[in-house]
C-alpha cells in the first residue's frame, strides 16, 4: 500500500553489500547436483530401491509444488517462506544466489529459474526480484527479558562464539551438517562395537554386509552464512526454523534464546557487513513481484498476499520422455543440475506412478520408512539396520560430563521395534519436543512440525505389528506389590537409574519414574527378563539370569511377581517413599550428624518458631530453643536434622527433627515474676531479651538472656544419652524493684506424677528432676486444669535441672 504511493521516485536507502567471498563448500568436493540427505546416503549405495529414491526426490525437490499430486506422501517439502526475506536475508546474497543457486550454495535443492535468460535480462530480473524481496519485512519477535529468562539488552549482539562452537558440535547440528575440522572437543572413546569393527579386515566387513557402517556420511551443505544472514536473523531462524522452513527438514533444537545467540555468534564469527547505498524504486519492486509469480517462485516460496498463477500438468500425467527438468541438458528449465543417478530414479518413479495412477497402496512399513527417510531421522537413529550416526560423526556424540555409560548414553536410541516398546502418547510428546528422557546426552532430540509427524506414532505401532495386551494380562494382580517393588529397585535398578530426579551419587541414567506411561507392559517384562534381546549392545544386565531372580527372598523369588512389583512401584511412585538407598543419599549431603562436637543451626521450626536454634549432640540427643520468647522448646533422640530446606530451598520450609521420641516442652515462659501464688503463670513474657550465646571448648552453647534486672546464662548439655542437664546462672545486676518474686517453671502438665524422687513427670512423658534440696523448695501451682511445678529463685544464683524422656 505504501509502496504504491511512491511515484516515480527513487529513494536513497542504505543497503548492505558484503565483499564477495569464495563459496564455502561444506562437503569438500563441489556437488554439481542437489543434495538430498536420504538419497545421498542410501540411494547412491543401493540401500533403498530406485522407486523409493525417486519418490524422495519428488518431495525434496518440490516437483509436486508445480506438478500436483493427490498422494499425501508426495507433497512437496516447500522452499523457505520469504514473507520476511527483507529483514532476514542480506540482499547481496539474494542476488548472488539467484544468479546461480547451485554454485552459490553447492547442493541446494533450489533450481535455477533464470538460466534461459540472456545475461542482461537475467541481471535485470535479479535486480527486480532482489529489490522486491528486500521490501518484504516481517518484524522479529519481541522477546521479553524476565526474571526466569533473563536476556541482556540487545542480546543478539552478545552471543559467545566459543560457547556457540560447543553447541554446534554437541547439541546435534553436526548430525546433519559438517563439523569444523579444527574442533578439538568430542569424545575420543570408540564405542566397543566400533573397536570391534576396527579390528576386522575390510573383506570380512564386506562379507558381513557392514560396509555401510564404515562409509562416512556426507553433510547437508550450508550456504555461506556470513553472507546470507545477520546475527539477529540467524538467531531467530535457529530459535524457530519452522517459521521459515515449514517441513521440519531443519528441525527445532529447542535452543534457549541465549544459546541461539551463541550459535549465531559462532556461525557468523568475524562477519563483516559493509554499508553501501542503492536505489529502490517502486517500479522495480512491482516488476520483482510480478516476476516472483510469473517465474513460479511463489509455488515453492510462500509470501503473504501472493498466489501461484499457472497450472501445470499433474504428476501422474507427465510425459516422461518430454519433461526437460528431469534431464541434465543445459536447456532444462527449471535447471536442477540433476546427476544421472537422480535422473534415473526420477524416471523410474514417474513411470511407476503413471502406471499405477497413484493407486498403489503402500504398506505401513513402507509409509513409515519413507517418512523417516524424508525427515532424515536416520541421521541419528538406526532402524532395521538402516541409518544411525555415521562413523565420521560419532565422536561428537557424548554423555554430558564424559561419563562412560556405553553407547546408549551417547547415541540416540535405535528405532527398531519402537512400536512394540513405546506408548503412542509418549512418541507424540517426544516428536513435539515435550519429553526429555535422556537429558544426560549432549545431543538433543529436536522438535518437528506437527504436520510432518502426526502419523508417525501410529505407523510405528502398525509397522511393528503391536498387539495390545492389557497390563493385567501381563502382570496379573498388582495389589500390594509396590512395597516389594521398592525393595527390588533398591537392590538393583538405582545403581544406574534415577527416580524422580533423585539418585545415588554419580549415577547417570534414564529416570525410571513414569516408566508405565512410556513403555508397553509386555515390553517392560521382556526387557527385564533379557535386556540384550531387545536392545543390542545394552549395558543393562539381567537381574533374572536363566530365568531366576537374584533376589530369592523377595516374593518367594517368583520372577513374574517381582517384575510386576517393580512395575507397580514405578506406577505408584508418588504414593510411596523413594528407595531406602536414595533416601539415605538424599540427606547425606544435608543431614547434620554431630560427630565430635555438637552442631548448632538457626532456622525456622514448627514448634521452636521463626527464631529457632536447634542443637544436636554426638550423644544422639538434641533440643530446639526458641530465641524469640526465650524458651526451651523441643527435645528428641536419634537422628538430628536435615538442613536442606534451611540451606538450599527457596521457600524456606520449617526444619523437621529427623529423630524419634520427640517431646515438647511446656509452652509457657520459663521465668516469671509473681506477686503471689494466686497469680496465674503468664502466657508470654514480652520483656525477656535474647542476647545471643557463647560456645565453650566443647562447642556447647550457653545462651544469654535478660529479664528485668536479671541476666541469665543457660547451658544445656547431655547427661549421657538419657537426657539433658540444664544449668542456669542468674545475676541480679541492679536493685531495681520488680513486681513480684522470680520463679522458674520446672515442669507442667494436666497430670504431674512423682514417679521418682525429686521429680515430676507430665502426661507427655517429660520428667524434670531437681537436686534434692531444691526439689523441696519446689511448689505445685494449680492453674485451671494445669499443674505447674515451679521453683522460687530468690537468693539462688545457680541451679540445675535434668530432663529425661
Amino acid at each position: 500500500m505504501i509502496l504504491t504511493t511512491i511515484n516515480k521516485r527513487c529513494l536513497q536507502i542504505l543497503i548492505i553489500i558484503s565483499p564477495i567471498f569464495f563459496c564455502q563448500s561444506a562437503i569438500g568436493e563441489e556437488p554439481a547436483s542437489p543434495f538430498v540427505a536420504g538419497f545421498d546416503r542410501f540411494a547412491r549405495h543401493k540401500q533403498i530401491d530406485l522407486k523409493t529414491s525417486g519418490r524422495l526426490l519428488v518431495t525434496e525437490l518440490n516437483c509436486t509444488a508445480c506438478h500436483s499430486s493427490n498422494n499425501k506422501e508426495l507433497q512437496p517439502k516447500q522452499g523457505p517462506i520469504l514473507t520476511g526475506a527483507g529483514n532476514r536475508l542480506q540482499n547481496s546474497w539474494i542476488k548472488q544466489f539467484l544468479s546461480n543457486p547451485q554454485k552459490t550454495k553447492p547442493g541446494t535443492t533450489m533450481p535455477d529459474l533464470l538460466s534461459h535468460l540472456s545475461a542482461d535480462e537475467k541481471k535485470k530480473s535479479i535486480e527486480a526480484l532482489a529489490t522486491f524481496l528486500s521490501t518484504k519485512h516481517q518484524p522479529f519477535p519481541e522477546l521479553k527479558s524476565t526474571g526466569v529468562n533473563p536476556l541482556p539488552l540487545e542480546y543478539w549482539k552478545k552471543g559467545n562464539a566459543s560457547q556457540g562452537e560447543q553447541l554446534y558440535h554437541q547439541a546435534g547440528c553436526v548430525a546433519c551438517h559438517e563439523p569444523d575440522p579444527d574442533y578439538e572437543g568430542g569424545s575420543n572413546n570408540l564405542s566397543p562395537f566400533d573397536k570391534q569393527l576396527e579390528q576386522l579386515d575390510p573383506e570380512d566387513i564386506e562379507e558381513l554386509g557392514l560396509n555401510h557402517l564404515l562409509r562416512p556420511i556426507k553433510s547437508v551443505p550450508l550456504p555461506d552464512l556470513k553472507k546470507k544472514y545477520t546475527l539477529k536473523s540467524l538467531l531467530f531462524f535457529l530459535l524457530n526454523p519452522e517459521s521459515v522452513r515449514s517441513a521440519g527438514r531443519m528441525p527445532n533444537l529447542k535452543l534457549k534464546t541465549l544459546e541461539a545467540s551463541d550459535l549465531a555468534a559462532y556461525l557468523l564469527k568475524d562477519q563483516k557487513i559493509k554499508k553501501a547505498e542503492t536505489h529502490v524504486s517502486d517500479s522495480l519492486v512491482k516488476r520483482g513481484q510480478k516476476l516472483f509469480v510469473e517465474l513460479n517462485c511463489i509455488n515453492c516460496h510462500q509470501i503473504k498476499g501472493l498466489k501461484p498463477l499457472k497450472k501445470f500438468t499433474s504428476l501422474t500425467k507427465l510425459n516422461i520422455t518430454k519433461i526437460n527438468c528431469v534431464s541434465n541438458s543445459d536447456k532444462a528449465l527449471p535447471q536442477f543440475h540433476l546427476d544421472n543417478t537422480q535422473i534415473e530414479s526420477l524416471k523410474v518413479t514417474l513411470t511407476d506412478l503413471k502406471k499405477n495412477k497413484n493407486k498403489e497402496k503402500l504398506s505401513h512399513q513402507a509409509q513409515l520408512d519413507f517418512r523417516i527417510l524424508k525427515l532424515n531421522c536416520y541421521a541419528c537413529h538406526e532402524r532395521e539396520k538402516q541409518g544411525g550416526i555415521g562413523r565420521n560423526k560419532k565422536r561428537f556424540f557424548e554423555t554430558i560430563g564424559h561419563v562412560d555409560i556405553g553407547d546408549e548414553g551417547r547415541f540416540p536410541p535405535e528405532l527398531t521395534g519402537l512400536g512394540q516398546k513405546m506408548l503412542l502418547g509418549l512418541m507424540k510428546n517426544v516428536l513435539e519436543g515435550k519429553s526429555e528422557i535422556r537429558p544426560f546426552m549432549t545431543i538433543r532430540m529436536p522438535r518437528y512440525p506437527a504436520k510432518e509427524t502426526i502419523p508417525l506414532p501410529e505407523l510405528f505401532s502398525k509397522a511393528d505389528q503391536y498387539q495390545k495386551i492389557t497390563e493385567a494380562t501381563v502382570f496379573g494382580g498388582q495389589k500390594g506389590l509396590a512395597t516389594e517393588g521398592r525393595k527390588l529397585i533398591n537392590n538393583g535398578c538405582i545403581q544406574c537409574h534415577q527416580l524422580l530426579d533423585e539418585k545415588l551419587p554419580s549415577v547417570v541414567g534414564v529416570d525410571l519414574a513414569g516408566m508405565s506411561k512410556r513403555v508397553h507392559p509386555e515390553w517392560f517384562r521382556d526387557f527385564l527378563l533379557d535386556p540384550a534381546s531387545l536392545k543390542t549392545r545394552t549395558r543393562m544386565p539381567t537381574f533374572f539370569p536363566d530365568g531366576k531372580s537374584s533376589n530369592p527372598d523377595i516374593l518367594d523369588g517368583k520372577v513374574d511377581r517381582q517384575i510386576a512389583a517393580i512395575w507397580a512401584y514405578l506406577k505408584e511412585i508418588d504414593k510411596h517413599p523413594l528407595p531406602e538407598k536414595i533416601l539415605a543419599a538424599q540427606s547425606r549431603d544435608t543431614e547434620l550428624v554431630p560427630e565430635k562436637h555438637p552442631i548448632l543451626i538457626r532456622t525456622f521450626m514448627k514448634e521452636a518458631g521463626t527464631h529457632a536454634i536447634a542443637v544436636g549432640f554426638p550423644e544422639k540427643i538434641h533440643y530446639a530453643f526458641n530465641a524469640e520468647n526465650v524458651q526451651l522448646s523441643q527435645l528428641w533422640k536419634g537422628r538430628f536434622l536435615d538442613a536442606k530446606g534451611t540451606w538450599y530451598e527457596r521457600f524456606t520450609p520449617p526444619a523437621l527433627p529427623l529423630g524419634k521420641n520427640l517431646i515438647s516442652m511446656p509452652a509457657k515462659p520459663s521465668f516469671a515474676f509473681l506477686k503471689n501464688l494466686k497469680q496465674d503463670w503468664p502466657t508470654e513474657n514480652n520483656r525477656i531479651q535474647f542476647l545471643g550465646y557463647r560456645l565453650d571448648k566443647q562447642k556447647i552453647p550457653t545462651f544469654l538472656y535478660r529479664l528485668n534486672n536479671h541476666d541469665f546464662q543457660d547451658r544445656i548439655s547431655p547427661d549421657g544419652s538419657n537426657g539433658f542437664t540444664r544449668i542456669i546462672h542468674l545475676n541480679k545486676f541492679s536493685q531495681e524493684k520488680n513486681s513480684g518474686k522470680l520463679y522458674f517453671l520446672v515442669n507442667s502438665g494436666k497430670k504431674l506424677k512423682q514417679k521418682k524422687p525429686f521429680s515430676y513427670t507430665n502426661e507427655s512423658g517429660l520428667t524434670s528432676v531437681l537436686p534434692e534440696l531444691l526439689s523441696k523448695k519446689g511448689i505445685l501451682h494449680k492453674q485451671e486444669e494445669l499443674t505447674l511445678w515451679i521453683l522460687p529463685l530468690e537468693s539462688i544464683t545457680q541451679f540445675e535441672v535434668k530432663y529425661q524422656w
Binding site: I13, G86, T135, S145, P150, L231, K269, L600, T646
Partner: protein, 522 residues
Amino acid sequence: MQKAKSVTAALFLFCLVIEFFSSTSNFIQAAESDYYKIVSIFTPKVQSDSRSKNWKPAPNGLALEVSGMAKMNNGRLAVAIRKGEIWILDGVYDEPPKNVTYKRFASGLHEPLGLLKHKDSFYTVQRSELTKIRDLDGDGIADEYKTIAKGWGVTGHYHEYAYGPKMDHQGNLWLTLNIGLGLKAEHKKKTLFEPNLKVRQGSWRGWGMKVTPQGKLIPVCAGMRSPCGIGANSEGDMFYTDQQGNWVGTNTLHHMRKGAFFHHPEALASMVLPNSPIKGITEIPNGIPFPKAIEKLPQLKPPAVWFPYKKVGQSATDILLDQSGGKFGPFAGQFFIGEFTLSSINRVFLEKIKGEYQGACFPFREGFASAVLRLEQGEDGSLFAGLSNRGWSSLGSASYGLERLVWTGKVPFEIKEMKAKADGFELVFTKPVDPKSVSNPQSYSMNSYTYTYHSTYGSDEIQKKDLKIESVKISPDRLKAHLIITGLREFYVHELHVKGVRSSTGEPVLHPRAYYTLNQIP
C-alpha cells in the same frame, strides 16, 4: 498530502533497513574487558536450576553463595554464605588465584545477607537479628554470637530477607527488611494490621532501620520492597536499592532518611507501632504517574535514581562506594551497584540539588559468571563480586561464586558525570573530547519518561517525550560538554544517547547511554 505520504513511506523503508543491519558483533563486551577484567576466584558450575526445589551445590564443593563480604588485612577476605557460614579466604588477590585457602570461621547462621568487619568483630544480619561475632580464644573460630538487635517481625515467609549491616559515619549500623509477599495463614498470625490502609505485614517489614552503638534499634524510613543493597556515600549519608515488582516500576536507589516513605505501602502496617516515625498516611494513590503520586502524597519521596528496566539491569543489589582514590580507575567517589539477573555491575553518579540527592546511572561491566549479589572493594582498589543466583535466575554459567574485577590501567572513554543544569545537562568525560563531534547537537538524542505508581508488578516507561538538544558548549579543557536542552521535566528520567560523541583520539563512548533522574531542576 501525496508528498507527505511519500516521505512517510521513505522513512518507513529507511528505518526497516537500518534496523535490520544495525547488528554488529560483540564489541561492547570485548571493549569492557580492555578496561576492567574479570578474574574468577571460585565459580563452580552447578546443574541444578536456580529455582529447583532440589537445588544442590556442586558435588563435594563449598557452597560459596556469597551473601556478604568484608576485607581483612594481609590480603584476606571474609565471606558470608547463604547457608549460614562465614569463611576466611586467603590468596584471593593472586593472579591467577590458584592457591586460595578457605577456612570456616562461623556457622549455624540463618541466611546472613551482609557482613561487616569492625574492630575485632564481624557483624551480620540474619533473618531474625543483627549479630556480632567474635573469636574470644584466638583459635580462628568464632565462639561468641551476640545478639545486638532484634525485634522485627519474622513470620517465616521466605521473602522476608533481612540485609546488612552497613555503618554510617556516626557508627550506627543500618539494615533493611524485605516485605513478605503473599503471606499465608501461618504467617499472618505474626503480623500487624493497619486498618486505614488495610495493610498487613510483620513489624518493620519494608523498613530501613539503624542500630545505635548502644544497641538501640530505630526505625528510620519505610516503603521498601526488596531492599537488597545498602551503602554510605562519602558524606556518610545512607542509601539503599530496591527491586522492581508490585508498587515498584523499576529498580531504584533511595536516600534513607527519617520519615521518608518510598513506595511499597504494606510497610505502613508498622505505623500502628508507637515509635513509627511515619504517621497519618490514610490513602495510597494507585495507578497514576509517579510525579502525580508525589503531589498527592507528600510523604512519598522519589528515588535518587531510577534504573530503567533492562537498560540498566533488572534487579539492583549491593551499593559500593569507590574509595580507592583512583586505584580502580576514573570513578572514585561514585557508586557501583550490583545487578542480579543480568550478572553485571552498573555505575551511579549522584549530586545534591536543593538539598536532595539525584543523579544518573550508567551500565559499567557485564559478563560475571552469576548474579552479582555483593560487592566489596579490596585493599588494592579492585572489586570483589560475590555471586549467587539461587531462588531467582541470572545470566552466566555458574550458580554462585566469587570473582574479582580488576582495572587494567587503561581509562575507558565514558561519561564520568552527568550534572543537571537549569537549561540542560553538563557532561564530564573521562578523557578530552573531539570538539567537532561533541559540539554537534546531532551527536546526541534525549527522551524522558516516568513510571506508573501502582500495585501491579513493574511498570512500562510512560509519558515518553523526545527532547531537543539545542546546542552544546565545550569547556576549554575539552573535558566537559554543556548541553542546552528544552523541555526538561521534573521527576522524569532523562535518557541520553551520545552515539556521535568521540574522544580526541576518535573513540566512541564505551557506554553511550546515561539515565538521569531529574527530581529537581537547579
